[in-house]
């Protein structure tokens, strides 16, 4: 059976094409000058240039973390180009001015940037290499007082907000990759939902790495004021290239009193070929802060891509009665390595958190769940429920679980459940005996396994994620 299982995993990466577009790329290498050049290219105010420089100086003193359960070739930070943008005619006044080549790229990715064609439920910010190329439905959202724009635009148009919240959740010195990002981040999305506003549509950013030999360092900041609500989606793909590419993003979420932020990711960066050649190194710091009482932040992620994934979307539960949730499906196949999980810091009273993690390993993939539940002294009557399930396909892959639990008061409770299962010959035979072929059987079994996570995704995304899961594992079972 393992032979059959193995066959199902290796389907070609659908998004591996490259776009031929002239781009403005700076020479490889990283120094204070490079940081200044990036800042200058973006015409940034001095405070931001200084902030970047401080981050860069801290980064220089830091060391790349060695604790993750990941194996990858040493990254040469001086051989990467830190800025690349498609050349286009200056500032765009409308979507009609976007280079048709770019529009076509996004169309091939299934993302229409033309507003009238787009499903009305979703507004999109499209980030191509280092810059945001288009944001749809800006005006519609503006009427409600919602700001949804590229990070660069936000710096110029809403400097006070950016200044107030940038680095407030993930400080520039937080960790090695966050410091690197803070020094060289190029673009990303900015969302601001004012008091009492329920965002009427899903907000979405679609990240695309195109240029070779460059890193992508985007930064996303979402702020939901009192009683506001927003659901945000993030998708990502990259061309198939033989060399590894670095992606080090930072996402910061701030939820004020009674606000709710749902952040969903379908990560499908190029994972490298079946021998582990190429693929994206994905080192991401994602953190949300439930600043206000009764606020809620939920992370949902479907991780199928990247050669290396290092990612722990976390929630700081500061406000009393605040809620943090983390739902994750992480798939590794071929030679992929993932070390992913979450941190729930309970600080306020009566705070609650839920962690549901589903790891699927196939091929020679190596999947690690790493999570921390930290319930502080003053976080009385707090609760956490954690469930970590791993599924193995074939017998050359591995799954690991490293849960860390720290409880510093006696009125809180923590529950942890974990399981490891194997897609068995018996399960597949059972399906086949009922008339279902192997491929459909595997897809059914895996989707059943990941169901608790999928149900937290917005409808349209859930369907996409299910398909993606099928594709990622195609060829692993036969």
């Amino acid at each position: 059976m393992s032979e059959t299982i193995e066959e199902l995993v290796s389907q070609e990466y659908k998004y591996g094409f490259t776009t031929d577009i002239e781009s403005d790329t700076i020479a490889p290498g990283l120094s204070e000058d490079v940081v200044r050049i990036i800042s200058k290219k973006k015409n940034e105010p001095e405070w931001l240039t200084d902030w970047r420089l401080k981050a860069f100086r801290v980064w220089k003193t830091m060391e790349e973390p060695r604790w993750p359960n990941l194996k990858y070739a040493k990254i040469d930070y001086q051989s990467i180009s830190y800025y690349s943008s498609p050349k286009q005619a200056k500032k765009l006044n409308s979507l009609d001015e976007v280079d048709p080549v770019l529009l076509d790229t996004y169309a091939r990715l299934g993302i229409s940037l033309t507003e009238q064609k787009r499903l009305t439920g979703v507004a999109v910010d499209a980030v191509f290499d280092s810059v945001s190329v288009a944001t749809t439905f800006k005006e519609t959202l503006k009427e409600k007082g919602i700001i949804f724009c590229s990070f660069s635009d936000a710096v110029h148009e809403h400097p006070d907000l950016v200044k107030k919240y940038l680095g407030s959740v993930v400080p520039y010195a937080d960790n090695y990759f966050a410091a690197l990002n803070s020094a060289v981040f190029s673009d990303g999305s900015f969302c601001f939902i004012p008091k009492g506003v329920r965002c009427p549509m899903e907000l979405s950013t679609y990240f695309r790495i195109n240029a070779s030999n460059t890193g992508q360092f985007e930064r996303t900041l979402i702020v939901a004021e009192d009683n506001a609500y927003v659901s945000y989606l993030e998708g990502c793909t990259a061309p198939m290239r033989d060399e590894n590419q670095l992606h080090a993003a930072v996402v910061e979420l701030v939820a004020l009193e009674n606000a709710e932020i749902k952040y969903s990711t379908v990560q499908n960066w190029y994972a490298g070929d079946k021998d582990g050649k190429g693929g994206i190194y994905n080192f991401v710091t994602k953190r949300g802060k439930c600043l206000g009482a009764k606020s809620k932040i939920a992370w949902t992620q479907v991780e199928t891509g990247s050669a290396i994934t290092w990612k722990y979307p976390s929630v700081i539960l500061l406000g009393d009665d605040s809620i943090g949730e983390f739902y994750s499906v992480a798939v590794v196949n071929n030679r992929q390595d993932a070390d992913t999980g979450t941190k729930m810091h309970h600080i306020g009273k009566n705070t609650r958190s839920t962690i549901i993690s589903k790891g699927i390993s196939a091929g020679r993939g190596n999947n690690t769940y790493r999570g921390l539940v930290n319930i502080g002294k003053n976080a009385t009557n707090s609760r956490n429920y954690t469930q970590c399930d791993s599924m193995l396909i074939g017998n050359k892959c591995s799954a690991n679980t490293f849960p860390y639990i720290e409880v510093k008061n006696s009125t809180s409770s923590v529950e942890h459940e974990a399981s490891t299962s194997k897609i068995g010959e018996d399960q597949i035979f059972y399906c086949k005996q009922r008339g279902i072929n192997t491929e459909n059987a595997v897809s059914m079994i895996i989707n059943g396994f990941a169901k608790e996570v999928f149900k937290n995704l917005p409808m349209e995304f859930a369907v996409e994620a299910q398909k993606l899961l099928g594709i990622s594992l195609e060829g692993s079972v036969g």
């Binding site: 068995g424 399906c431 086949k432 005996q433 009922r434 008339g435 059914m444 059943g448």
Partner: protein
Amino acid sequence: MIEIKNLHASVNGKEILKGINLKINAGEVHAIMGPNGSGKSTLAQVLSGHPAYEVTEGTVTFEGQDLLDMEPEKRAHAGVFLAFQYPVEIPGVSNSYFLKAGLNEIRKSRGEGELDSMQFLKLLKEKMKIVEMDHSFINRPVNEGFSGGEKKRNEILQMAVLEPKLAILDETDSGLDIDALKIVSSGVNKLKSPKNATIVVTHYQRLLNYIVPDFVHVLVNGRIVKSGGKELALELEANGYDFIKEEMLQSA
């Protein structure tokens, strides 16, 4: 309907079936009995195509087709159904989703249109009455958290929905209390028709009080050593399998 000739099969290099000959016509119920380890379940698994078993010799013809040459799902499409001795759990996949997927694959293979959710649900509810299944069952994950009796009832429900030509019941009575046994057997009896056939694999005669066989075959050490009518089952019940073994020794 099915003709088994000189069937030999082994698992991990160990020969379990050592030359089975059996012919079953439409409308018949055949019971396969025998002591533990005689190869009863192996026969059921081999007929449905379990990959762990290797057929080393012999042929099986099902409705004119070479059954052994077919993938398990093709056998299912052709109308072979195995009620598992140990039904398998599939977490997160609802019973109705699972069964609908199976039924539609089978219908597709026969050139029939797929049933949509509403049509399927109607059919499922009808069939559920046969095994007295509770409605909550529809959305429960396949066999997960089911009691032994529920699992076996679920097998018979699947059989009712898929309407096989040849149903093989592998120790369907094991682990059933008397009430569940009655429900399951009456389900099987309701599904009996002149067009389909049933193989009942069992260790005990008990089940055969409810599902009355036309023929009883005794399997010992990989071979059918005795065949007869339903009275043979009673004889076995009264005398145990040893009397067959003695008979074999005497004739040897």
